[in-house]
Point group: C2
Chain length 161, copies 2
DNA sequence: CCAAATTAGTTATCTAGGAAGATATTTCTT
DNA sequence: AAGAAATATCTTCCTAGATAACTAATTTGG
C-alpha cells in the first residue's frame, strides 16, 4: 500500500514509525539531562518532583488543590497522594485545608520547598539553554514548539473521552 | 537577565520552560492514543510491549539479544528480564541460546508473537496517520522529526557519559 | 596463556504509581 | 429540600521497573 510515490504527498508506514520514534528518542535522551544535578545536593531530581515544584512555585501563594496538581502532572489521585506524602515528609510541602470547599486540600510549598523550587528551576533553565536552545537555535525550538502545540491540542480533543 | 529584547535573539526563562513543556504535553497527550485498542482483544497495549514487539518484528529471524533489546527500549537489564518473562508466559516470546556467544540469550518472537506484532503495528500506523500526520501534515511532521533528530543526536553526545 | 576487567543474564529487594473502593463533601435534579 | 450524581482525598492491594549482588562466559593486557 505504500511505495514511495512523489515524496510530496505520501509517507511510508516505516517512515511514519521512524519519525514518531525520533520524537520519543529525543525526549528520552534529552529529558534526563535537564534534571541532572539540579537537586540541592547536586543530585538529579525526579521528573514528578520537578513538575510539582515548578507549578507550585509559580502559583499564587505557592499552592494548588491536590487534584488539580495531580491532573497537571499526569498522576492519578492515589498516586499523587503518595507523592505529596513524600514531599511533605521531606519538609518541602504542607497540606492546607480549603475553607470554601472542605473536600479540597491545598498542596502548599514550605519555605524550604520554595527555596528548592527556585534553585532547581534556575539550574534547569541553564540546562535547557545548553541542551535544547543551543542545539536547536531559537527557530528550531519555535518550530518544535509550534508542532508540539498542534499535536497536544488535537490529541486533547480526540483523547479527552 | 531576561527582558524580551528583540524577540529575535533572546528568549525568556518562562518561554523556554513553556516551550519544553509543550513537548512533554504533546507526547503525553498523543502517545496513549497511538496504542489505543491495538491489542488483539481490542485493549490498549503497553508502551514497552509495543516497543519490543516492533523491534523484533523488523529484525532478522525476528530476534535480538536480550541486552540489546533492553537498551533499545530503555530498560535496565533486570527490568527487561521480567518483561521478557511476561511476554514468554503469554506465549509471544521464546528465549533462544546463542551458539557463538554462550552468554547471550536471544529474545525471539513466536508465531503468535509475530502475529501480534504485525496486527499491533498495522493498527498503530493507522492511529499515527489519524492523530499525528492528520493534525500536523507532512511538512509539520517532517519539521518535528528534523528538530527531534537534532535534539536526540546532540543529547546522546552530551549524555552518553 | 592466565589473571583481570567486561559483558550477559538472572535474582532478590525496594520504590513509584495505577486501579478500585471507601468517605466526606458539594452540586445537580427534580 | 431530599435524593442522586459528581468531586476530592485517602487507603489497600497489585504490578512494573530500578538497583545491586551474583554467576557464567568472554575479552584483554601483560
Amino acid at each position: 500500500m505504500n511505495t514511495q510515490a512523489g515524496t510530496t504527498e505520501t509517507i511510508t508506514d516505516d517512515d511514519l514509525i521512524t519519525g514518531w520514534g525520533l520524537f520519543h528518542e529525543a525526549l528520552s535522551a534529552t529529558d534526563p539531562l535537564l534534571l541532572r544535578g539540579i537537586d540541592p545536593c547536586g543530585k538529579d531530581m525526579s521528573g514528578p518532583w520537578f513538575e510539582v515544584l515548578i507549578r507550585l512555585q509559580r502559583s499564587p501563594d505557592h499552592r494548588l488543590p491536590m487534584s488539580q496538581l495531580a491532573r497537571e502532572v499526569s498522576l492519578s489521585s492515589g498516586g499523587f497522594t503518595k507523592l505529596a506524602d513524600r514531599l511533605e515528609r521531606n519538609g518541602y510541602l504542607a497540606r492546607q485545608a480549603c475553607p470554601s470547599d472542605r473536600r479540597v486540600t491545598y498542596a502548599a510549598l514550605t519555605e524550604e520547598g520554595l527555596a528548592l523550587a527556585e534553585q532547581a528551576r534556575a539550574k534547569h533553565v541553564a540546562l535547557l539553554r545548553e541542551h535544547v536552545l543551543g542545539p536547536l537555535g531559537l527557530e528550531g525550538l519555535q518550530a518544535l514548539a509550534a508542532q508540539a502545540r498542534k499535536l497536544r491540542d488535537s490529541s486533547r480533543e480526540s483523547g479527552g473521552l
